[in-house]
């Protein structure tokens, strides 16, 4: 069960990262829209995190498979496919020259993704607790501690 607990912890962290990536992109786009940032800077910042985000999501998806969480795997699979498709078509990056034309669409796309990750986040949290992940993790330490606990042996004694 320790492995399970570690998996869920990793899922948790990765999910946080994905949400952060998306939030960052949305903020950049909003700044661009409000003219706080010029398109060159905005798109280079966004483009810098797109590939990491795709990789993170791919790993995320693969880990679900490795961990045997079929349902979760299937839920995250479509986005992984979509990302892969964008990447192979080389459409994953923001086009500086046309960024304003697609601004709204790009924003909407990222907001939807963000919502998806938030839902996933809720699921991960629930699973962590329902599977007693934290408890298990702590129990591991606790167990180890027990053996080493001088007081207990002392008391027993």
């Amino acid at each position: 069960m320790a492995w399970e607990a570690i998996f869920w912890l990793i899922f948790f962290l990765m999910n946080m990262a994905l949400i952060a990536f998306n939030l960052y992109q949305i903020v950049c786009l909003s700044d661009l829209e409000a003219d706080y940032m010029n398109p060159y800077e905005s798109s280079s910042r966004i483009n810098a995190v797109i590939v990491p985000e795709f990789v993170t999501h791919g790993v995320f998806c693969a880990l679900f498979l490795l961990a045997g969480h079929w349902i979760m795997f299937l839920v995250t699979l479509p986005i992984a496919f979509y990302n892969a498709m964008l990447y192979t078509k080389r459409q994953h990056l923001i086009d500086v020259t046309e960024v304003f034309r697609f601004l709204n669409a790009e924003k909407k796309y990222r907001i939807i993704k963000l919502a998806f990750y938030l839902v996933l986040f809720a699921v991960v949290i629930i699973r962590i607790f329902s599977a007693g992940t934290f408890f298990n993790i702590f129990s591991v330490f606790h167990f180890n501690n027990e053996e080493l606990d001088i007081r207990s042996s002392f008391l027993e004694f």
Partner: protein
């Protein structure tokens, strides 16, 4: 006018405005009937034009024709005269609408009078018709496939005419209006109501007949006579204006206004063959124009004579009424709205299926005497609204004794700076108004102080990147014309692979000789070059590094496909199978993202890129062109460049590129009133923020289009103001702001929007939208989207009038959009959109696409519907001087070509000179000397020692002077010399059916059918 009954007679009349008005009057007369049931829409089917009109008409009794005449005249003239003012009343607060405008009502009554005249014409036919009448029946209709509509009228008349006249052509005309003419017959045809009326008619000689049935008929009549002209006349401008009035008035309060609308109707095009008026038929008095599309029974011909179709033979006709309405607006060469009437609600916008937007040409060349005034606000700083940043303009109103001014765009009350203060006079105008061009002119230029500069103005920099691969050497490109009048600084990149230190830039005035020597030595330096490769990408990068401190213009002369280093491209576009599939569009977009990135970087550092593509092979203009597209540059494409042939063209265009007035480091923004917002922008530029267009270099040959949308469901303002501001550095190193201001009324009627539509601007937007569409869809889809929008627009328009008028099989369209179908067709046949794989080379398509994305409206229209003129007669005349050169344009169709003639085809980018087979040999001899028998592809037309040759060159020179932005190269073509003739001329005769694309007539019929399908 019509008494003669011959069309010619009609025509003569036509020009006269008064005549037109009479018609309207006629309609009005009818109105009485209508009035009774105007709302009902009385089955009378009456054509009554705009509803408003109807009301008006009612007041006026149809009856007294006599009085009417006298008054009628007045009215006619008057109407036209005061029109301008009237419009004003609409929105423009400043202009007081003249009471006179009201005149119209009386006119209405008066107008009737004309009818009598009309009558006469009508009568002439009547006798004939009477015999013919039997004909009229429905059966006739059947033949005419298209005419679905109930109105029977059409055919019968034609038949009659034919019977009597014996001339079949008339049938075409049979426009309903024609019917009206022959009362009896027509009546039967037209509508039952009429028949009833007929009795009346009889009672009144002549006119009476109409009055009864009147309602409907009269209008048609007018139009017919008036319009009959064949192809080309332009509608008299005044007339158009009148319609407006009518509208405005009419709509608001239906009152008397109505009369004016009549003018509009004229458009009907009929045309009759023989002198029979029949063909002429009546036009609607309405605001719309119509075209009858029924066929003659028993004949296979389409019921339409190509001669009556509207053609823009007078060139681009801008709507004048708008400028008259708002005299303070900037000239239309700077800003054109697709419709000068802004819809007041989103629901109205959604019924306007054409683009809603503007085409801006900020630096358009002003003719002598109309130079843009320059204002220096050195002491006060530039006066702007402090909230929306609008620049001071003639529509700002001063209040509070001159201490405050109200912004016309956001309505904020601003303080007037102390130094700018001036007292107001009794009318509330500033006393110093006459010394303030910014308060009296729609276009002004401000000298910008330091806060408008990011950095001190940079000297203009021209940087030449020259391809020296073997094909360039062979084609003679290097020798051609590189010693042009350059401006200040030139840098030369002598070898592509040499890393460039920053001091490669030289000041031209100081080291002109060095540059010249270098340029002269270029050919010899590389004459032994056998390098096939071109390292385009690295060269651009190097050039970019040199230039990014200063910005400027990079001129790239490319002769081969980039094949080394970054940005290398491969041959593509040879694969036939890609065409027609979903991947087709990928051929039209840059293959390597390097180009987009490079373009973005260039724009960021204020570098504009002009590409001169001189190859005879595929150079992937789609990719290279991207550099120009996003940097506000331009593509010059010289297929199969040979210096001996293209030298002149390259020299001229390069010189133009270097010497025309250019604005550097510029940004353009268009502001508009509350509730309206510009959403999308189309053209060659890059957006720097949502509404800021970044233009490293911009000049008079570039135009930008934008579309707007309504942000609020309902606009409460009466007028929407637009302000285009271009902040730039002039070539003299001065930072300036050019401001164009325009106002447009807000309307609640769709009809008014149509009336104020501007075909040129609409087509310009269509063109840009369609070309953008080809970048992500198939050509076919881009073409059909144009067609669909035209159809939707006409259908909506038809629905406006279908209830009150018997439209029958006629195709109706607003006067203002009469050329829209033709230009739409021309657009579908233009190089970027035409056909499929074989119809144009990929490079040619892309180059034309980039060019058309930047062309100002006038040039675009000329490119779409070129000038075709016959010159041999003029050349043959001994005495005529060039000043008398008054050559009429011909329809662009093979039928215009006479094998005994010599024709010049001019689309603004090139000349095609067509030699007929039977052209007298002496002419060819005189023009070409001993070359006239050889292969024309090698012959260069130059001035020879003969009168004729000099005259021809003079004509061509004149044509070139009309628009110097491109140099039209001569292409000589001999009739029957294939494939040359087909390539240069025949495929470009847009009215003909070429390679599976519709001809003009078929196109009109197709649109008409589609309009009716779901009407």
């Amino acid at each position: 006018m019509k008494t003669t009954g011959t069309e010619n007679a009609d025509r003569a009349n036509f020009p006269q405005r008064p005549a037109a008005s009479p018609f309207t009057a006629a309609s009005q007369s009818t109105t009485p009937f209508l009035s009774s049931g105007p709302v009902v829409g009385s089955e009378a089917f009456a054509f009554r034009p705009a509803p408003p009109n109807a009301p008006q008409t009612t007041p006026s009794a149809p009856q007294t024709t006599r009085p009417y005449l006298s008054s009628g005249l007045m009215v006619g003239s008057e109407a036209s005269g005061f029109r301008p003012t009237q419009p004003v009343r609409y929105n423009d607060p400043s202009i007081p609408r003249p009471p006179s405008s009201f005149v119209p009502p009386p006119t209405g009554t008066l107008q009737h009078h004309p009818t009598p005249q009309f009558f006469s014409t009508a009568q002439a036919p009547p006798p004939r018709t009477s015999p013919g009448q039997p004909v009229f029946p429905p059966p006739i209709r059947a033949p005419a496939g298209h005419v679905p509509s109930p109105p029977v009228y059409l055919h019968s008349q034609p038949q009659i005419s034919s019977g009597q006249m014996g001339s079949p052509p008339q049938s075409i005309n049979y426009v309903p209006s024609g019917r009206s003419v022959p009362p009896s017959s027509s009546d039967s045809l037209f509508s039952a109501p009429r028949s009833t009326l007929q009795p009346l008619q009889s009672a009144f000689p002549g006119y009476s007949s109409k009055s009864p049935n009147a309602v409907t008929q009269p209008p048609p009549v007018q139009s017919a006579p008036v319009f009959t002209h064949q192809g080309g006349y332009g509608p008299p401008p005044p007339a158009t204006s009148t319609p407006f009035l009518a509208h405005q008035r009419g709509y608001v309060p239906p009152p008397p206004v109505a009369a004016p609308p009549a003018f509009y109707s004229r458009e009907q095009m009929q045309h009759q063959g023989s002198g029979l008026p029949m063909g002429a038929v009546q036009g609607l008095t309405e605001d719309f124009s119509s075209l009858s599309l029924a066929s003659v029974p028993g004949s296979l011909d389409p019921g339409l004579d190509s001669k009556v179709l509207p053609r823009p033979l007078d060139g681009d006709v801008e709507p004048k009424s708008f400028a008259e309405m708002y005299p303070l607006n900037c000239n239309s060469r700077y800003l054109r709205l697709t419709t000068s009437a802004i819809p007041n609600s989103q629901s109205l916008t959604s019924r306007w299926h054409l683009p809603l937007g503007a085409v801006v040409c900020p630096l358009a060349e002003a003719p002598e005497g109309e130079e843009v005034p320059i204002v220096n606000f050195a002491t006060t700083g530039i006066i702007r609204c402090r909230r929306c940043r609008t620049y001071v303009n003639p529509y700002m109103t001063f209040t509070d004794g001159g201490r405050k001014f109200r912004c016309n765009i956001c309505a904020l009350l601003n303080d007037v700076p102390g130094d700018y203060f001036a007292q107001l006079d009794a009318n509330g105008r500033r006393i110093d108004l006459n010394e303030r061009p910014e308060l009296t002119k729609g276009t002004v230029e401000f000298i910008a102080p330091a806060e408008y500069m990011v950095r001190p103005p940079m000297p203009p920099l021209y940087f030449f990147v020259i391809d020296v691969s073997i094909s360039a050497v062979r084609s003679g490109m290097l020798e051609s014309s590189l010693t042009q009048p350059q401006m200040m600084v030139v840098t030369d990149l002598d070898d592509i692979f040499v890393p460039l230190p920053d001091d490669l830039l030289v000041n031209l005035s100081e080291s002109r000789s060095v540059v010249d020597v270098f340029l002269d030595s270029l050919p010899s330096m590389f004459q032994d070059n056998v390098n096939m490769e071109s390292a385009f990408g690295p060269a651009i990068k190097a050039a970019f590094m040199v230039m990014n401190q200063l910005g400027g213009k990079m001129l790239i002369f490319q002769n081969t496909l980039p094949s080394l280093g970054v940005g290398r491209l491969r041959l593509r576009g040879d694969d036939l199978r890609v065409y027609g599939t979903d991947k087709e569009h990928t051929l039209r977009i840059p293959e390597d993202p390097f180009y987009k990135q490079m373009a973005a970087d260039c724009t960021k550092y204020q570098i504009a890129v002009n590409v001169y593509a001189l190859s005879d092979k595929y150079t992937d203009i789609a990719s290279l062109g991207t550099l120009a597209k996003y940097t506000g540059g331009q593509i010059y494409y010289y297929p199969s460049f040979q210096s001996s042939i293209h030298k002149e063209k390259l020299r001229h265009e390069l010189a133009r590129d270097l010497t025309r007035e250019t604005a550097w480091e510029s940004v353009l923004r268009i502001r508009c009133g509350k509730g309206v917002r510009f959403t999308t922008y189309h053209g060659n530029f890059m957006l720097r923020s949502t509404d800021l267009i970044a233009l490293p270099a911009v000049d008079c040959d570039k135009a930008y289009a934008m579309q707007m949308s309504l942000e609020e469901t309902l606009l409460t303002t009466q007028t929407v103001y637009f302000q285009v501001a271009l902040l730039y550095t002039s070539s003299s190193g001065e930072r300036r702001i050019r401001v164009h201001t325009a106002a447009a009324p807000v309307v609640s009627e769709l009809g008014e929007m149509y009336r104020q539509a501007d075909t040129g601007a609409i087509i310009s937007l269509f063109c840009r939208l369609a070309i953008e569409k080809t970048l992500s869809y198939k050509l076919e889809e881009a073409r059909s989207s144009i067609q669909q929008r035209i159809v939707k627009a006409f259908r909506e328009y038809r629905n406006l009038y279908a209830v009150q008028h018997r439209l029958g099989g006629r195709m109706i369209y607003p006067e203002s959009l009469k050329f829209l179908p033709l230009y739409g067709l021309a657009l579908c046949k233009s190089i970027p959109l035409r056909g499929g794989y074989a119809d144009a080379q990929l490079d040619e398509r892309c180059a034309a696409g980039h060019t058309m994305m930047a062309l100002p409206v006038k040039n675009l229209l000329k490119l779409l519907y070129p000038n075709l003129v016959r010159v041999d007669e003029y050349l043959g005349k001994a005495s005529s001087k060039p000043d008398e050169l008054n050559i009429s344009r011909l329809p662009v169709t093979a039928e215009s070509l006479d094998s005994r003639g010599l024709y010049v085809y001019d689309d603004g980018l090139r000349f095609v000179i067509w030699f007929g087979k039977m052209l007298p040999p002496d002419i060819a001899m005189n023009l070409l000397g001993e070359d006239f028998a050889t292969d024309f592809s090698r012959v260069i037309l130059s001035e020879r020692d003969s009168e004729m040759s000099r005259k021809l060159m003079e004509i061509l020179k004149k044509f070139r002077e009309i628009d110097p932005s491109y140099y039209q190269m001569n292409h000589l073509v001999r009739q029957g010399e294939q494939p040359r003739e087909g390539f240069f001329l025949l495929t470009n005769l847009i009215e003909d059916q070429v390679g599976g694309m519709n001809g003009y007539i078929d196109w009109i019929q197709q649109i008409h059918r589609q309009v009716q399908q779901n009407a």
